[in-house]
């Protein structure tokens, strides 16, 4: 018979892997272009606008870099827990709690100087986000509750808790009843690195770099990091080798919560300078997409966070310059995710026409 069969690859792909990725990208962009053409928009011009808006030029890079910071931090955390095969999809809620934690620090110690304020803010954000994530971890370990369900539910609770605070006790009395806290004092605002050369790009970028390096060292160079990776590959073997599996689950969840909390802290402090419900725009969910696309590797996470951020920024330019509806951005993103993930299938398997031997 000449029906193609799926065969597992014996040899890992070398350069082919990159070409599969490139082909997937071309396919998804091609389909998107066709959609645009059907809609009566010039497809090639649209691609040019998308590129120049997201990546072409200093302003575009500044915008994209800024947007990728929270996505990157959340994705790091998500990727670490996915590596352990802990399906934590609660980065959104942990992000909210991080923002709440940082704001609590600012409102409780409003007169701290910058050098003390920043560590306290980040510490509170990490603790709040980490504890929030630890609860589903304990529920899973103690009662066998599926963490997919519990972390998802905790997102809603976390966001509502943030709203509860901002609509209630933390509301700025001079805001005419609108839901937001007072503007943070200067010491609690993460400033730009160098306004002259880097524009609005703030020190959150340095936090990203630091966290990424520390995490890489932790995973590659420490015993706990090794156990974490091994535990993900095979939980039973890990238990048999006397690895502290329960501790590891608790650790990755809390780590993810802390990282998402950092992202919440940075968004609150650096970009809106106060806590308000509109900081919740779904970075925690975007993080899951980025984590999958990058196959849970730190360097790829940086790359994909940047690419996805650029895509979102570019789509705004498409709207403004060509009046493409906002929904097109979602279609484009979904298309890329689907085709790249489908392409990854060919990394591990190939088709053969040979009959059974």
């Amino acid at each position: 018979m000449f029906l193609p069969r799926v065969v597992k690859r014996q040899e890992p792909l070398q350069w082919g892997s990159f070409f599969i990725f490139a082909a997937a990208l071309v396919v998804s962009l091609g389909v998107s272009c066709a959609l645009l053409a059907v809609h009566g928009k010039p497809p090639l011009k649209a691609l040019a606008v998308l590129w120049s808006g997201g990546f072409g030029g200093p302003f575009a890079l500044e915008d994209t870099l800024l947007k990728s910071i929270p996505i990157f931090l959340c994705s790091l955390g998500v990727a670490v827990s996915f590596r352990m095969q802990v399906w934590n999809i609660g980065a959104e809620g942990q992000f909210a709690l991080g923002a709440v934690g940082a704001t609590w620090a600012v409102l409780t110690f409003p007169v701290l100087p910058l050098w003390a304020m920043m560590p306290v803010m980040f510490l509170c954000a990490a603790v709040a986000g980490g504890l929030w994530a630890a609860v589903p971890a304990v529920l899973r370990l103690r009662f066998g509750m599926n963490e997919i369900i519990s972390t998802l539910m905790f997102n809603y609770i976390g966001i509502l808790f943030l709203q509860f605070l901002v609509y209630g006790v933390w509301k700025d009395p001079t805001s005419f009843g609108f839901p937001m806290t007072s503007i943070f004092p200067k010491a609690a605002i993460i400033g730009p690195i160098s306004p002259a050369t880097l524009g609005r790009v703030h020190w959150g970028l340095a936090v990203c770099a630091g966290v990424a390096v520390l995490l890489a060292v932790f995973l590659k160079r420490t015993r706990l990091g090794f156990e974490l990776l091994a535990g993900g590959e095979n939980p039973r073997a890990a238990r048999y080798a006397r690895m502290p599996y329960n501790l590891l689950v608790l650790l990755v969840m809390s780590l993810c919560g802390a990282l998402a909390g950092f992202a919440g802290c940075i968004e609150t402090s650096a970009t809106v300078n106060r806590l308000q419900p509109s900081i919740m725009v779904g970075y925690g969910y975007t993080a899951i997409v980025v984590a999958w696309l990058s196959r849970l590797r730190i360097t790829s996470i940086a790359l994909f966070a940047f690419l996805l951020a650029g895509l979102r920024v570019g789509v705004e330019h498409l709207q403004l310059d060509l009046q493409v509806p906002a929904a097109f951005g979602g279609i484009l993103e979904g298309m890329i995710l689907l085709s790249v993930l489908a392409g990854q299938f060919f990394d591990r398997y190939r088709f053969t026409l040979k009959g059974r031997s």
Binding site: P12, L13, Q14, W15, G16, S17, F18, F21, S52, G53, F55, G56, G57, P58, F59, L61, D63, L66, K67, L160, Q163, Y167, G168, F176, G177, F178, P179, E267, T271, V272, N273, Q276, S278, I279, V281, R295, R297, T299, S300, L303, V313, E316, H317, Q319, L320, D321, Q323, P325, A326, A327, D347
Partner: protein
Amino acid sequence: MRKSVSAMLLVAAMLLMAALTGCGEDKKPAEAPKAEQKPAAAAPAPAAPAKEMQVGFVYVSPVGDVGWSWAHDQARKAIEDMDGVTTSFVESVPEGADAERVIQNMARKGYDIIFTTSFGYMDPTLKVAEQFPGITFMHCSGYKTAPNMSNYFGRMYQARYLTGMVAGAMTKSNILGYVAAFPIPEVIRGINAYTLGVRAVNPKAEVRVVWTKTWYDPATEKEAAKSLLDVGADVIAQHQDSPGPQEAAQERGVYSVGYNSNMSQFAPKSHLTAAVWNWTPFYKDVVEKVRKGEWKSGAYWPGIETGIVGVAPYGDMVPQDVRAKVDARKAEIVAGTYKVFSGPVKDQNGAVRVPEGQVLSDQDMLGMTWFVEGVVGSTQ
């Protein structure tokens, strides 16, 4: 496996770097003089009407919502038809960090007037306005101004009051439902005005409020309306951008009051009337003033007399005497002889908030965080 992935990454990174540095070098000289030209180009613009005027809009929801953003977009289309004016917009822009970027990019692209139409755009608009003194910024529904930034809104509460009168006359159960978005002054003011209108014709009626914490979520808003119908409400009003509550009312065979635009197409059998926006005259006026150099920064809050807010045509079921009563009150509000929040106005606890013979100040209305007597619900 690992090798191949890192190879892929390396290539991708190299390509990216090449592309970035290439573009950076290409774009920089082109971009820099542009930025310098901007203030110079914007300044003579009023004197030289030959230049096409670019007007940008930032919307919080998709324009297809037939609600808030749709109403603004109708006015944008009207401006587009004016001579020498081109417009564009960005829709579904979240109110946090993304808004600042979108507004800033409009400014960088040389738009002359930028309308930002959601409360959460206030601080981002202000930040960008400070960087681009040559551009006119119009922010809807906030309270901050700058030399080149106005805030504006319409006195929607006047239309709310009138629709409340219709609802109060039509209810049989004396329980009215109100599906509301967020407990912010704009929404609370609308609920209060509606309730005052209801109780002006039907002092026994009460208005029950449900918060959805959404602006546009058809399913949630429909469900919220159903929960009100379940407790006996027989007229559903809404401060939402989706027609979900209207549909829920029609399905149960009771009445509804729309918001933003005439929503009768979604519920022809239940739609009594609607409190509607008509931004076109105001927006045209702003464009004309900027073009002539007569625009002044300020806080604008025009009322029903300018047509910025209004009441949609009544449904067939609204009897003649009710129509006459509401139209008469409308004429009084237009003439300025009747004020919606004129005393005595009591709050939910029965405490007098506006004494007899006084009228609530604009300042107090803009920061309203309490419900009037007759509302069942909490402002949290």
